[in-house]
């Protein structure tokens, strides 16, 4: 098999991956799910032709979406994850001394396919006694549930299909209502290169319900353009101000592969081209 997968990052730009082997291909009620093997990135989970994660670089996205907000909260005990069906985010989050982690994933088959073909990404996270996996619509969950959380993480796909509502102001307002005092929410907010309007909308939407909105970046080699954004809406202090010593203390023993104590603060130090694009004074 010498087919290539094209993961588009704009009208005329894509990451291309040689498909050495296709381990799985199926269509769930929500999307096409594939697991391919690539010589450079190993096994890769692909949803509707968009690479979600790979054996080789999964740690970047999962460490950055888990530990930055969890460390920015002084003492998170209850966590909610919306999406994140591959379990990599959950696995990182459970390194913190949480009491409970509820994960609401809409597509059961993503969880099942990952557990079968990419078991090292969730590790033992789905069997952790602190984990409660809910197969259902995260939008409905935050709207209907009476539960509250210290941290809410939104690990969504691109704003297409079932994920569209995860970028809406109504959803952010519901997320805000599900937070305990001092709580915060973090969302993947897309590519600052080819989804700038999305990132602007996320920041504006979160800004309507949170006093503090702060965007940070990471370099995810398997996402188109690699430069990727995350945005936190906080009810407490500015997450960017978390001291490096606090990051080091709270992540000691985590065996991180991407995030460093100094890198935490640096991730919020947006390059001027982007700060300008977002209307943030330099």
């Amino acid at each position: 098999m010498s087919e290539w997968l094209h993961d588009a990052g704009g009208a005329g730009f894509a990451h291309a991956y040689l498909i050495e082997e296709e381990l799985y291909r199926g269509r769930s009620a929500f999307q096409e799910i594939r697991v391919i093997v690539n010589p450079d990135f190993g096994r890769m989970l692909v949803l509707d032709d968009a690479v979600q994660t790979s054996e080789r670089d999964e740690f970047v996205y999962h460490e950055m979406l888990a530990h930055v907000p969890l460390v920015a909260h002084p003492a998170p005990r209850r966590l909610l994850i919306i999406g994140g069906g591959d379990g990599g985010l959950l696995e990182e989050a459970l390194k913190h001394p949480l009491a409970e982690a509820v994960m609401v994933e809409i597509d059961r088959e993503v969880v099942e396919v990952t557990r079968r073909f990419l078991p090292q990404i969730p590790g033992g996270a789905f069997d952790d006694p602190r984990t409660r996996l809910v197969i259902g619509d995260g939008i409905r969950y935050v709207s209907a549930s009476a539960e509250t959380f210290d941290v809410i993480l939104v690990d969504s796909t691109d704003p297409k299909g079932p994920a569209v509502g995860l970028f809406s102001e109504a959803f952010y307002a519901d997320v805000r209502r599900r937070l305990r005092p001092g709580g915060l929410a973090a969302v993947q907010s897309g590519s600052p290169l080819y989804q700038l309007e999305l990132l602007r909308a996320v920041r504006a939407g979160l800004g309507k319900v949170f006093p503090v909105v702060s965007t940070y970046l990471a370099t995810v080699p398997t996402y188109p353009g690699a430069l990727w954004s995350f945005t936190i809406g906080a009810t407490g202090g500015d997450p960017a101000q978390t001291p490096a010593e606090e990051v080091a203390r709270r992540t000691a023993g985590f065996d991180l592969q991407y995030l460093t104590p100094a890198g935490f603060r640096a991730a919020f130090d947006l390059p001027p081209f982007l700060a300008r694009d977002l209307g943030i004074a330099g």
Copy 2:
């Protein structure tokens, strides 16, 4: 025209660019030179199918290879650039109060094609009275010349064809001999993802002639994998220790689009996966 350019970053990974229009295609004595137009990145300079620079993101690579070493030197007056035919690096470097900038580029046609089709990348750099452009072999130049410099920047292509010698220990020894007291050299040292052996060899080679070797990273969206490395060999202090205030003072008014004062230090803060791969204690 709906052809795509594939810029390979490994056996099974490439960045793919739609070629909206091809403005130039020719073969020099050294390589195939193309200028294409892409809807996402604008005009792109392509040498032997490898993207060298684009209108949209040229500032990342050029700012990082120019200003990090130039600011790490306390007062650079004489600069040598090896390669860098598109002039983007020269343009950034000339923002500093240099007395002279000598640029040795092997391929005259790269300079000519860039000036014709991508004139905003060099800007007025080639006409700056401080610039001396030498069309010739940089390897021979550092070996034969008796001139000395405060900073030497090596802006090479991948180690193929004429660029192979720019990654050799003999070349680094000659570079070292061309430096004035307290001088330093910086080289583009490849992708930490798919050219790790190259990066290791660069660090080892520089380590044989420089007491201080320090690698830093930037995210260049149009280079495969985006994460890119640069390595400095220094005869003086550790470049990474340059205070943010010094960076701010020395780059004031430069209108930088990527580098920030805090980002200077952060660029040297390698993610643990890479520090481990390079055998650097965390």
